[in-house]
Symmetry: C2
Subunit: 271 residues, 2 copies
């Protein structure tokens, strides 16, 4: 297995990005670039620890999370992340981050992975940032403020382009129902990037068809970004997405251009 | 529906790329950039003609193909392309191109689409070039010469990462057999980009699970590139991939890191 030769540029951030979010994103891109230069694909994919979220941590995740933890500490904010869990730096502000969303893509070299995080004040997410590592493209959003980019506005599944998580044992039928009802289907294996594609109107929706795969940090950036762009971010079973340092909690996230399209997806998945 | 605001950079080409292929790729990137700036997503997606290949042509395809046709004419080579069909410029050399592979992605704004083409001398493809529009990343290959990038070398489906075309009516069972046998599944909806990901070792294989979707220009760049990188490019049913200006012909392309992995995929798909 070879190294991935492609560069990871620095993120293209808006100047009014919160300094702690900006520092974390910059540290993440730099660390991922260094990780690609230092390690083969096989080494990046290797499981090096069991994370605080109860799932194994790949080397690429560990390297990028360590850089983010340093950035959070320097910025004087707390951190909630998958391997480290909750790191209390004595602040009312907490960065909730997925250091590398799409870890398998990031390790293998599929150019679809990102940094995603939100700044939480007390228990309210107030600002989100998602950075696509391979291009440096960044999507910012603030809770309750409209974004310059907008969702497609689509309301029905017929004719829609939908990103889905891959089918797993037990979700095959729901998966195929959505695939047959929608016009176009994609499986990119990076929830955070797929949900910003919903926010910017490039796809109409994203769904986990019932596998309960998502942790808080897989959805928290979308929870701010998708509604700010005019869309909806929900759990398949209506469970509220609330800030909770207990990383064993899981959801099935649905992001859609409109609340009506989210409802149509949920109805189709639940059959 | 809004315009896609992201830039399309010029391709990063090796200086020894054949001038006709290089000119076509540069023209394609420039035309796609201009098309994004001039048209909304809905306009780019609109069907403006029936192509020589028997399928509808979107506006984005027509705009990019026109720019490529001018480049081919200036370079003094023939062109075989999806809408135009065979354009005889009186040369022994023919550019066989897919102006925009992943047309729906390109129109909607999903950042996964590419230029792909091969230079054919008489009836033999001798050089291929694939350019990922959103990043400018380019993959060159010459028939019979090893490339600097290599496939993953994987030989078995268990543990593999596989890109699949989306399931269609009649291919659902074969699709799900592959999804359950492989470790990771992706559906990027851009055959030419997915096959160069096989060539560079970022995924282990790509397959059309029997829908006979591929035309010659969807596979001809991979036909040079994947074997030059150590892999195999085959048709599901063993039909030879030969240069033929009859664009109504179809194949089900299989690209794999090794001939053994291609065989395993074919066996699994045919059930």
């Amino acid at each position: 297995m070879t190294k991935n030769p492609w560069p990871v540029p620095q993120p293209e951030l808006s100047p009014d990005t919160h300094p702690a979010l900006a520092a974390a994103a910059r540290a993440a891109s730099r660390a991922y670039q260094q990780a690609r230069a230092a390690h083969t694909r096989a080494e990046l994919r290797e499981e090096v620890a069991g994370g605080a979220d109860g799932t194994p941590t790949m080397r690429v995740d560990a390297i990028v999370e360590e850089a983010i933890a340093e950035a959070a500490s320097s910025a004087g904010v707390n951190l909630l992340s998958e391997e480290a869990g909750f790191v209390d730096n004595g602040s009312a502000a907490t960065l909730v981050v997925d250091p590398v969303d799409g870890s398998a893509n990031a390790a293998l070299g599929v150019p679809l992975s990102c940094f995603a995080g939100a700044l939480v004040l007390d228990d309210q997410p107030v600002e989100a940032l998602t950075v696509w590592f391979d291009t440096g493209r960044a999507w910012s959003a603030r809770a309750g403020e409209p974004t310059p980019y907008r969702t497609s506005g689509r309301t029905v599944l017929k004719g829609a382009s939908v990103c889905l998580m891959r089918p797993k044992r037990g979700t095959e039928d729901a998966w195929m129902r959505v695939a047959n009802a929608a016009d176009r289907i994609r499986v990119l294996c990076t929830t955070c990037l797929e949900t910003v594609l919903v926010a910017e109107g490039s796809v109409d929706a994203f769904a986990d068809p019932g596998s309960d795969t998502h942790r808080l940090m897989d959805l928290i950036a979308a929870l701010v970004t998708v509604p700010a762009a005019g869309g909806a971010l929900l759990d398949l079973h209506g469970r509220p997405l609330t800030f909770d340092p207990d990383l064993t909690r899981r959801w099935s996230g649905i992001a859609a251009a409109t609340p009506a399209l989210a409802d149509a997806l949920i109805t189709t998945i639940l059959g």
